[in-house]
C-alpha cells in the first residue's frame, strides 16, 4: 500500500505546528473573543475567518478523562495511561491527548497537567509527546 498524500495547512494550522517546534502553543481568537486551541482557521459559530493568533500556556487543567488499562499496539504508551481533555491556561476549548500518569488514582478532573515536549521537534503534532502531571513549583 502506498500513501502519496501531502497537506498544505494554511496560515493558522501551519503557524500552530511551527509554534510547537519552538515550544509555543498558539490558539485562534474569534471575533467574539473565544480562544480556540488547537486553533481553527474559521470560527465554527460565525463562519468568519480567524486570523488573530494568541499564545496560550503549555499547562492547563483536565476537563475529562478515561483510563486505558490495557494499551493497544497503536497507543502512545505500552503501559496503562489516560486519554484526557486538556484546557490549556488561556484557552476556552480543550484538546484531546494522552496523559502519562502512574495509575488511575492519580488522574482526576481538574488536575493540573503540562505538555511533555518531544526531544526532537519538527513542526508536527507529535512535537507534543504527551501530557504529564504538572511539576510542583
Amino acid at each position: 500500500m502506498e500513501l502519496l498524500y501531502r497537506r498544505s495547512l494554511g496560515p493558522v494550522v501551519g503557524a500552530f505546528l511551527t509554534g510547537l517546534r519552538d515550544q509555543h502553543v498558539l490558539a485562534s481568537r474569534t471575533g467574539a473573543g473565544r480562544v480556540i486551541c488547537p486553533p481553527l482557521e474559521y470560527d465554527p459559530e460565525s463562519g468568519d475567518a480567524v486570523s488573530d493568533l494568541v499564545e496560550v500556556a503549555s499547562s492547563g487543567a483536565v476537563t475529562g478523562w478515561t483510563w486505558v488499562s490495557e494499551p493497544l499496539r497503536k497507543h502512545p504508551f505500552d503501559h496503562p495511561f489516560a486519554w484526557v481533555l486538556v484546557q490549556l491556561d488561556g484557552a476556552d476549548t480543550s484538546m484531546l491527548h494522552a496523559l502519562d500518569a502512574s495509575d488511575m488514582a492519580a488522574v482526576s478532573t481538574g488536575m493540573r497537567v503540562q505538555i511533555r515536549w518531544a526531544e526532537e521537534r519538527t513542526g508536527h503534532i507529535t512535537d507534543i509527546a504527551c501530557f504529564e502531571p504538572e511539576a510542583l513549583a
Binding site: 502506498e2 502519496l4 498524500y5 498544505s8 494554511g10 496560515p11 501551519g14 481553527l40 463562519g47
Partner: protein, 381 residues
C-alpha cells in the same frame, strides 16, 4: 412553473499547479468569498451550501464535507456534497439550482473544488494502485476512433489546443499559459497517449469555483446584472455495456436535447451564442460539438477548422481557455457553468464575447458516462 433561479455571484481562485499557500478550506473560502463579494452578500446571508468534488481518493480527505462545514459557515445550516466524477462541478451547480427552483431555499452558495497537488490523481483513479492508465489513457482510444470515423485531419487537435491556450492568456485565473503557442509547438510536443500530445492535454490544478444562486426576488435585487437559468439537465449511463458508443454517448445526446428543449432552443447552432464545454483533451471539442447537436456526425471538426469556435467566430467555445488551461477536476465542470454565466452577465473581461445572451455550460465525467448541462441567458425565462 418552478421558481426562477438567478446567478448573482460568481468567484473562482487563481488556479495553479500547487496552492500550498492555503489549506483545502482556504481554497474553497477564496472562491466562495469572491462569489459573495460579487453578490454583495456575506456568509450569514446564505441559506444552504452545496459542494462538489471528485473522488476522496484524489486528495485523501475522506468526506471533506464534514471538515468543511464550519469553514463554510454552515453551523446550523444544511450542507450537502455531490459527486458525479468529472462532471461533478456541473451537477453540483444543478443541485443548488434545484434547491432554489423548488422553492425550498432562497440563497444558495455552491462551491466545487480540487486540490490535485495533495494527492496523485492517476493513483486515485486506479483505486490506490500505481500503473493505472489515467484519464488520458482511457480516452485516447475513443479519440482515435473519432478521428478514424470522421476522417478529421490530425491538425484539428492542434488547432483546438492553440485556440484554448491563446484564450487562456485573456483569463487572469487560468493556470497553464503558453504565450508563444503555435501549431508546430503542439505538433512537436511529446506524444503522451497516442494520438494525444502533451500540449493537447489538460494540466493538474489546484482551484475552486463558487456561485451564489437566488430566487427571482434575489435576482431582481442583484447589485450586478444576474444570469438566469433557462434549463438544467443531468444524464448518466453505465461506463460499459454492449452497443454503447463512448465516442458519441447517448447520455450526452439526451442531456443536450433535454436542456435545449427546456430553454426553447430548436437550432442550437444558431441560437447559442457561446459554449463552455468540458474539453480535457483537445479532440473533445469536435467530439462534443457533434454529441450535443451543434454539428452533424463527422462534421464537428470542420467548425474548429473554420475558426467558428474562436472568440471571434460565430460559435465561440471555451473562451476562458477551458479545461485544457485549468483543471481542478472537481471544479472544472462548475467553471464551465460559471464562465457561461459570466458571458451572459458581460463579466468575462478580455475573453468576453460581444453580445453574448445565451450560453451553454457543459460537463462530463467518469467513463464519458455522466453529463450535466445548463443554459443561461441575460433575460428571465
Amino acid at each position: 412553473m418552478a421558481e426562477r433561479c438567478a446567478i448573482v455571484g460568481i468567484g473562482q481562485t487563481h488556479h495553479r499547479k500547487v496552492r500550498d499557500d492555503v489549506s483545502l478550506a482556504g481554497l474553497l473560502r477564496e472562491a466562495g468569498q469572491r462569489a459573495l463579494d460579487d453578490a454583495e452578500m456575506t456568509w450569514r446571508d446564505i441559506d444552504a451550501v452545496v459542494i462538489g468534488t471528485a473522488p476522496d481518493s484524489f486528495e485523501g480527505v475522506m468526506m471533506p464535507e464534514l471538515y468543511l462545514a464550519d469553514a463554510l459557515g454552515c453551523a446550523g445550516k444544511p450542507i450537502m456534497r455531490v459527486h458525479t466524477a468529472g462532471s461533478v462541478g456541473g451537477s453540483t451547480a444543478i443541485v443548488a439550482a434545484h434547491l432554489v427552483q423548488s422553492g425550498v431555499r432562497k440563497r444558495v452558495l455552491t462551491i466545487a473544488f480540487e486540490k490535485q497537488s495533495e494527492g496523485d490523481t492517476t493513483w486515485g483513479l486506479s483505486g490506490g494502485r500505481s500503473g493505472g492508465v489515467g484519464a488520458g489513457g482511457y480516452f485516447a482510444p475513443h479519440i482515435r476512433a473519432y478521428i478514424s470515423r470522421s476522417g478529421a485531419p490530425e491538425y484539428v487537435g492542434w488547432m483546438v489546443a492553440v485556440k484554448d491556450r491563446l484564450n487562456a492568456l485573456k483569463n487572469p485565473y487560468a493556470h497553464l499559459k503558453v504565450p508563444d503557442i503555435t501549431l508546430e509547438m503542439v505538433r512537436d510536443s511529446p506524444m503522451v497517449w497516442e494520438p494525444v500530445r502533451r500540449l493537447e492535454s489538460c494540466p493538474a490544478s489546484d482551484g475552486a469555483c463558487a456561485m451564489v444562486l437566488t430566487d427571482e426576488a434575489g435576482g431582481d435585487r442583484s447589485p450586478h446584472k444576474p444570469a438566469w437559468i433557462h434549463g438544467t439537465a443531468i444524464r448518466s449511463e453505465l461506463g460499459q455495456f454492449p452497443g454503447r458508443d463512448p465516442v458519441n454517448p447517448k447520455g450526452g445526446q439526451d442531456c443536450a436535447a433535454d436542456v435545449f428543449k427546456q430553454a426553447g432552443i430548436t437550432d442550437p447552432r444558431r441560437e447559442v451564442d457561446v459554449i463552455e464545454m468540458y474539453v480535457p483533451f483537445s479532440w473533445y471539442e469536435p467530439m462534443w460539438l457533434e454529441n450535443l447537436g451543434f454539428a452533424e456526425q463527422g462534421g464537428g471538426w470542420k467548425l474548429t477548422e473554420d475558426g467558428v469556435t474562436e472568440i471571434g467566430g460565430d460559435l465561440p467555445v471555451n473562451c476562458s481557455g477551458g479545461v485544457l488551461s485549468s483543471n481542478p477536476i472537481g471544479a472544472s465542470g462548475m467553471l464551465r457553468f460559471a464562465e457561461a454565466a459570466m458571458q451572459v452577465r458581460g463579466q468575462a473581461g478580455e475573453h468576453q464575447v460581444d453580445g453574448a445572451r445565451t450560453a451553454l455550460g457543459h460537463a462530463y465525467g467518469g467513463a464519458s458516462q455522466f453529463f450535466a448541462m445548463w443554459i443561461v441567458r441575460d433575460t428571465k425565462p
